[in-house]
Subunit: 423 residues, 2 copies
């Protein structure tokens, strides 16, 4: 084994041992650990901010964009919020040990389906160091050990944060190895993690195409991707156009850089002449560029109109994460559904209509994690769903779809209690 | 693309199109298709048996074992049973469209979590042709399209069966492409399926180590393995030894060739001298060979005793699927749990004890799909669980654990109905 392989293998071995302890920890002990972690994070404010300052200096020298620098930055206010987030997780119900179902066999054997931790989770994410503490807290609460692989530009910050987390775990009598950081920025470490199916039960990658592709290609264990949101708003022939305008504005502009913002606006032909100029006006006022298909371009006054450009096909398959919206006129509800099936990312899509039949067809036929009728796609979020916290939003279909929180960090086992039953 | 790639790619493309239709089919239409498939299977008795005879001739020339030849053989009785099995699936409740949970946001947005089909399932299995019809029926009922990859020795039989299935689908107005057979015995086709994440949402391999390893290494999509059962019976210090004997006999001998039979017997030191000779006698009468660790070997009279051999370490990590049982004396409940964690396959394990505290520790600490107290491991089975049918028994941890049936062939989506809600 190479040195790196040895390092990653040792992380895995220790995580597996820690997971066995964590799986049997009581709710009370896990909550005590969360409180201790919050305390340790605040107590380590100075070293954490010093480590973050070193990361920021290197990142500035490396030419990181201002937006990325902002995401990387920690200060006293942000660190306090991180510690409060950890304390808030303690308040949530324990997702482990829930009785999901029970029944009795005709022979008297009593079955119960019980939620249990997944085991060891490999969590691969980018830039923002607050995710390090959030993910550690959620994995701890759900009884899982976690191996954290953050962005290379946040390595020193993450080190300092993870050290505080480990101290908190140990203060509560739990193994510090329950939340370990991959101690190197070497990209090869991700591939090593992907091969570690002996020790890692689930990989959660959250990031860009390069990261996701590496994980999909190499992982030997289950993967739940947290990837693109190419979300669409479809304005039906029977839409309340004032409502459609409000929803378009909210879903595009309230926070354009997140995965549940819309990237595509589909408008039924019958209302396009009325709706498109109207929505274009309010969107333009908010600085949104519209990239219009030929039909929409005509209605909107052509490319010379301010804030209007011609759409390329690729624009309908792009997560802009910016004040850009691809616009298309469709002939029917079916055409809208077909467009979403062919171009969307199965994340979140919404129909605005007063026609309940059309709405129910859309809700049934659109195969996305969350499908809305007369509401903004921005509600696809763990907190909005009432989950209390989230580790991300799954764009995969199995085990977890959409907002992924504590329950989605558990699996189940069956327990059967008998009196000597045989077949 | 190679010819094979083109063939597999086309299977995927057609399966995806069929899955879209199937996902929206009504329960009534799916049940009509199941009835039509059963009819078509019986109507095609002659060509199916002729194809099977050709497979059997080739298999005999290829030197297939008598046991494998028996598994490959179809006759009128078996074909009637297959058709009845398909009809029985129609009687089961539709697993699609169940309301798994619903709640309302403070702003009035109404959420529902609804079961939906997974999409396209790649099912890779070995030898027994009855699995072809079973899997097609279960996937159809759960609204999924399936690509079937059976054993090469059953290719002609599977062709004839799949043709009857496709005719049944079409008679009910559903796409025949909803259940397609990979039309070649080329092993490379499995690797091509593994790369087809554009069209295949889940791979279910059911077979030996070579197949599983190929799939784990190459699959780009989720995989649910149906693999080894290295199941253990632990006889506690406080066991009812007569019950332990009955359960050992049942779990080892009732059907030794299946994954939920026990392969390991762990006996607490305090009862070993009394229990081991006694259970050895009844097991020997049933033709079982015991492979004993040094401690058990001494109690059992050494290697010269009839039916007794010394165990190698590997015997405790082997799925014998035969009348062989690895036997070990352990010092404590904890040692039994540790042995199972280190050597078992997380399938099914059981404790026999009258001590409820010991039982609950075992049920909690043993991390297997099904954990039993005072019952045979042989109950790990879709029919025994009341699931009505099963596509296999998952040895994985995510999405489906243990018996996998109709519900486990679905995933979910969220549907949210609003009145113009924005954030």
């Amino acid at each position: 084994m190479s040195d790196l392989q040895q390092i990653v293998h040792a992380l895995g071995r220790r995580a597996r041992a820690a997971a066995r302890v964590l799986a049997l920890a009581s709710s009370e002990q896990k909550n005590r650990a969360l409180a201790a972690i919050a305390d340790e994070l605040l107590a380590a404010t100075d070293p954490i901010l010093a480590a973050n300052a070193a990361d920021l200096t290197a990142a500035r020298e490396g030419g990181l964009s201002p937006a990325m620098l902002d995401r990387l930055t920690l200060d006293r206010v942000r660190l306090t919020a991180i510690a409060q987030g950890v304390r808030a997780v303690a308040e949530l119900p324990d997702p482990v040990g829930r009785n999901l179902r029970d029944w009795t066999h005709a022979n008297g054997l009593r079955f119960a389906k019980i939620s249990v931790p997944i085991g060891v989770i490999g969590f691969i994410y980018e830039s923002r160091p607050n995710v390090t503490a959030d993910a550690a807290a959620l994995c701890l609460k759900s009884g899982n050990a976690v191996i954290l692989r953050g962005g290379s530009e946040a390595l020193a910050s993450n080190h300092a944060l993870a050290a505080a987390v480990a101290r908190g775990l140990e203060r509560a009598g739990l193994p510090g190895d329950a939340a370990q950081l991959v101690p190197t920025a070497d990209r090869e470490a991700v591939r090593q993690l992907c091969a570690l199916d002996e020790f890692v039960d689930l990989l959660i990658p959250r990031g860009g195409r390069g990261l996701i592709e590496t994980v999909v290609q190499h992982a030997r264990m289950p993967v739940i991707k947290h990837y693109d949101g190419i979300c669409a708003l479809y304005v039906d022939a029977a839409a309340d156009l004032a409502m459609a305008e409000r929803i378009a504005l909210n879903a595009k502009c309230q926070r354009p850089g997140v995965c549940n913002a819309i990237e595509t606006l589909l408008v039924h032909r019958d209302v396009a002449a009325e709706f498109l100029p109207r929505v274009a006006r309010v969107l333009r006022d908010r600085g949104v560029q519209l990239r219009a298909d030929p039909g929409a371009l005509t209605v909107l006054g052509g490319e010379q109109a301010p804030g209007i450009a011609a759409a390329a096909d690729a624009d309908f398959r792009t997560e802009f994460l910016d004040l850009i919206l691809a616009v298309k006129i469709v002939d029917s509800l079916d055409a809208a559904v077909a467009h979403i099936a062919a171009n969307g990312s199965h994340h979140s899509d919404t129909i605005v209509t007063e026609d309940a039949t059309a709405a129910e067809i859309f809700l049934r036929a659109v195969d996305s994690a969350v499908v809305y009728w007369n509401a903004s796609t921005r509600f696809t979020d763990g907190a909005e769903f009432g989950f209390g916290a989230e580790i991300g939003i799954s764009t995969d279909r199995l085990h977890a779809r959409g907002p992924m929180a504590l329950e989605e960090l558990t699996t189940y086992k069956y327990v059967a209690r008998g009196t000597g039953q045989v077949r």
